[in-house]
Symmetry: C2
């Protein structure tokens, strides 16, 4: 993999500069990648025939390349083959902020918006590498233990890729911020934290006898934070690359 | 509030018909609203000057009207004043599906995509009602206990609204679905469930003495599922309406 210096930043323009609450924005690779790597679910905005679509999907990252699964809807494929502007966003909700005024109610969150040209990955080697990545990035080392992918499956899967041209991260991570004169107002105020938590694994009822849960899933133990498990898996995946 | 029959459905067109895995799609109001009401975080796709933007924000719902906070960036405001096509999506990740082939790896999820024309809500009465709604929809009854909103705050807040013209819900909620011949393959397979869980509330350090946590927050107790708390709050909010 190419090394990206951790101090590097994405360029800024009208497109990615954080406008509302710009004090919460940053543009360095490390901040953007930290948000992306802590999530599995992303939302991608495309425009087709003047209509914006906000599509939820699973993303994975190799350096500054983002990959995700695409719809095989023919209209979208046509646009994606030529390359189409897209925006991929990952967001984590971390807490509800209950202030003493409606105006200061808020949420703690981490989000990253990434801009670039989305295109279909159809070069066979790049596509196979990306398809192994979607497994190994989440479960490092798992891909080679699976029933190998067939040519038909590779063909039936649409992988979309986008090099990040510009990006921003935006984070709110603090307590209640009321107007100074409101702290005397007689109402409860505080933070209600929330997080994505892993539950107890449910083995497939048709598992072969003696098939133990593999070590690479230890980060996804019951009660773990999903964001931490995903971040650790990405680090392991990069270490293997 | 207007009553919407629970058997009602949104019309379908090329725009909202579920293409990839259409067996997972539905179009009835109840299915779409259930996904919307279980979430606080949404992503909105807009297009400005040919560039799609995928913006994370907080949404709330009154019947088939969606509201969210907007950026005050002047370029966006100009488009939004005139009304602009948008797509608001809410997604919940419920589990990771580890299959015996890479191709059958998947996720359990619930998502709703809503299409319509987004516009700035600037009619004063509608805007004030929407601003009370963003508090009461999450914390029923809280708005009237807060320091009242000032004219300046109302002016400084951009509320965007969109009547849902078309929508779809998409749900995967099942175990591993391998190809029949793969069940003999010697690899662990199963579901790793995940959910948004509420943590221990952190009262503001500057709370007035004796200010107890109000009853309307009982659904947000430590260990509760956020989706359930939000769904219950919406039901209470509708009951009050």
């Amino acid at each position: 993999m190419n090394e990206i210096p951790t101090t590097a930043s994405f360029p800024t323009s009208k497109r990615n500069r954080v406008k509302r609450r710009h004090d919460r924005g940053s543009y360095d690779h490390a901040s953007v990648f930290a948000v992306l790597d802590a999530g599995l679910l992303c939302h991608v905005a495309y425009t087709f025939d003047g209509q914006p679509y906000c599509t939820p999907t699973i993303h994975w990252r190799e350096d500054d390349m983002l990959y995700w699964h695409g719809s095989s809807a023919s209209r979208m494929l046509r646009h994606l083959r030529a390359g189409t502007p897209a925006c991929l966003t990952v967001s984590h909700l971390d807490g509800l902020i209950l202030a003493r005024s409606g105006f200061n109610h808020s949420a703690n969150y981490r989000s990253a918006m990434c801009f670039g040209m989305a295109r279909i990955i159809d070069e066979p080697q790049e596509k196979l590498k990306a398809l192994a990545g979607v497994v190994d990035r989440f479960y490092p080392g798992r891909a080679e233990t699976l029933r190998p992918i067939s040519a038909q499956e590779a063909k039936a899967t649409t992988v979309i890729g986008m090099r990040i041209e510009e990006a921003s991260a935006k984070v709110r991570a603090k307590g209640v911020a009321d107007d100074e004169e409101d702290y005397e107002y007689p109402v409860w105020a505080g933070v209600i934290p929330v997080s994505m938590v892993v539950g107890a694994a449910e083995p497939c009822p048709r598992l072969l006898p003696g098939m133990a849960r593999p070590d690479y899933l230890s980060g996804y133990a019951e009660g773990a934070r999903l964001a931490q498990a995903l971040t650790d898996a990405q680090r392991m995946y990069e270490g293997e690359g």
